[in-house]
C-alpha cells in the first residue's frame, strides 16, 4: 500500500552501531586471517564479509615470505587486531601483546592464553592474570574465554573491553554447544559479548546474534570453506539477519500450535459435503 510503512523498518548501520572502547563499527563480523589458501583469496573473502576489524598473529620474521597480510588490511581500511595465539602462559601473552603494539601501533589485543594444543581451550587463571596486566598497561583487551559466565564477569571486572566466549573449540565447526551459557553471559555483561571460535556455518553466526551477542568472530568457517568468498558473504548476511532478529524479538516457543488465521467469521460447513474428492 503506498505510503504505508512498518512501525520500525529496522536500523541501518548508522542507527545500530557496534562500539568497542569508543570505536564504532558498521559491521558486526570480526574476521580472522588464518587458514586462507592465499592472500588473494583472503582479500576477496575479507571484502565479501564486510569486516572492519580483523585479527593477525605475531610470528618470527621469515625473510623468504613474499607479501603481507598487513598490506591487505591497510589497503582495504580494515583495522588490525593482533592476537596472542600460541601463548600458553600469561607472561608469553603479555610480551606478545607488547611486541604487537610496538610492531603495529595498536593498543588493541585479542588475548589468548590457551591450556594445551589438543583443545586450545583458554586457561582461565592465566587469562585473567594476563588481562589484568594488559589493562593496567593501557591495552584494549578482548579476551578469548571459556563460555563461563563467572569468568566473563571477572574479565569485565578487571577492565576488558569485551568478552569473547568460545562456542566450541577453535576450528572445530561445532557451533555453540551451550547456548544457555551465552544467554547468561549476555544478560549480565556490560561490555560487548562476541562469539569467538566454533562457528561452522552461517546458522551458527545467526544463532550467536539471536542469543544477544554484539558481534561474531570467525576465521576457519570462511577460510577453510570449500568456497571461502561465498561463505564470507553468507556470514555477512547471517550476522546481519541474527542481529535484526534479536532486535525484532522472537515469538515465544509453544508446546502446541497457535492459529495465525482468525477463528471468528469462519463458515459453518457440513464436514461431509461436498463429497471429497469432488467430482
Amino acid at each position: 500500500m503506498p505510503g504505508s510503512r512498518a512501525v520500525h523498518d529496522g536500523p541501518g548501520p548508522a542507527a545500530d552501531p557496534f562500539t568497542i572502547a569508543g570505536t564504532t563499527f558498521a559491521s558486526r563480523l570480526i574476521m580472522g586471517t588464518g587458514g586462507a589458501p592465499s592472500l588473494e583469496v583472503l582479500e576477496r573473502s575479507l571484502l565479501a564479509s564486510g569486516t572492519e576489524l580483523t585479527t593477525v598473529a605475531m610470528r618470527r620474521v621469515d625473510p623468504g615470505v613474499k607479501g603481507s597480510v598487513l598490506g591487505v588490511l591497510a589497503r582495504n581500511g580494515i583495522q588490525v587486531l593482533p592476537n596472542t595465539a600460541g601463548c600458553f602462559t600469561a607472561g608469553e601473552a603479555v610480551l606478545t601483546a607488547k611486541l604487537a603494539r610496538e610492531a603495529l601501533g595498536t593498543n588493541w589485543v585479542k588475548l589468548e592464553v590457551v591450556a594445551d594444543e589438543r583443545t586450545l581451550l583458554p586457561d582461565p587463571v592465566g587469562l585473567l592474570d594476563a588481562a589484568e596486566a594488559l589493562v593496567d598497561d593501557g591495552f584494549v583487551v578482548l579476551p578469548y574465554t571459556n563460555d563461563d559466565p563467572v569468568l566473563a564477569r571477572r574479565l569485565e571486572e578487571v577492565g576488558c573491553a569485551a568478552v569473547m566466549p568460545l562456542g566450541s573449540p577453535i576450528g572445530s565447526g561445532l557451533g555453540i554447544r551451550n547456548p544457555h551459557n551465552f544467554q547468561l553471559i549476555v544478560e549480565q555483561a556490560g561490555v560487548p559479548v562476541i562469539l569467538d571460535a566454533g562457528a561452522g556455518t552461517a546458522s551458527d553466526a545467526t544463532l550467536a546474534m539471536e542469543l544477544g551477542c554484539a558481534a561474531v568472530m570467525l576465521a576457519s568457517a570462511v577460510t577453510r570453506a570449500q568456497e571461502p568468498v561465498l561463505m564470507a558473504g553468507a556470514m555477512r548476511h547471517a550476522v546481519a539477519a541474527g542481529r535484526l532478529a534479536r532486535l525484532a524479538g522472537r515469538i515465544p516457543r509453544r508446546h502446541h500450535a497457535e492459529a495465525s488465521s482468525p477463528t471468528a467469521g469462519q463458515a459453518a460447513l457440513d464436514p461431509e459435503r461436498p463429497a471429497f474428492p469432488a467430482g
Binding site: G32, T33, G34, G35, A36, L39, L42, T55, V56, A57, M58, R59, R60, V61, P63, V65, S68, V69, L70, V80, L81, P82, N83, A85, L95, T96, K98, L99, A100, E102, A103, L104, G105, K110, A219
Partner: protein, 72 residues
C-alpha cells in the same frame, strides 16, 4: 678499524655469530627491510624501534624479531 671478537647470539631461535657490539638495527636489517610492522625483543623485553641503533648485542643474547602473519 680493529677486528672485534665474534660472539654468539640467538636470533629467532637460531645461533648466530656476530661481531661483538653489533647493534640491534643492523641485525634486524639482515632479516627484513620492512620499514614498519616489525618488533624486536631482547632477552624477553621489548626494545622500541627507536632504540635499536643504541642497543649493542653481546654473548648469549636472545633476540626475537616478529611481524604480523595470517592468524586467528
Amino acid at each position: 678499524m680493529t677486528a672485534t671478537t665474534p660472539v654468539t647470539v640467538s636470533v629467532n631461535g637460531e645461533p648466530r655469530r656476530i661481531p661483538a657490539g653489533l647493534t640491534l638495527d643492523r641485525l634486524v636489517a639482515t632479516l627484513t627491510s620492512a620499514p614498519a610492522g616489525v618488533a624486536a625483543a631482547l632477552n624477553e623485553s621489548v626494545v622500541p624501534r627507536g632504540q635499536w641503533p643504541a642497543t649493542p648485542l653481546g654473548e648469549g643474547d636472545r633476540v626475537e624479531v616478529l611481524t604480523a602473519v595470517q592468524g586467528g
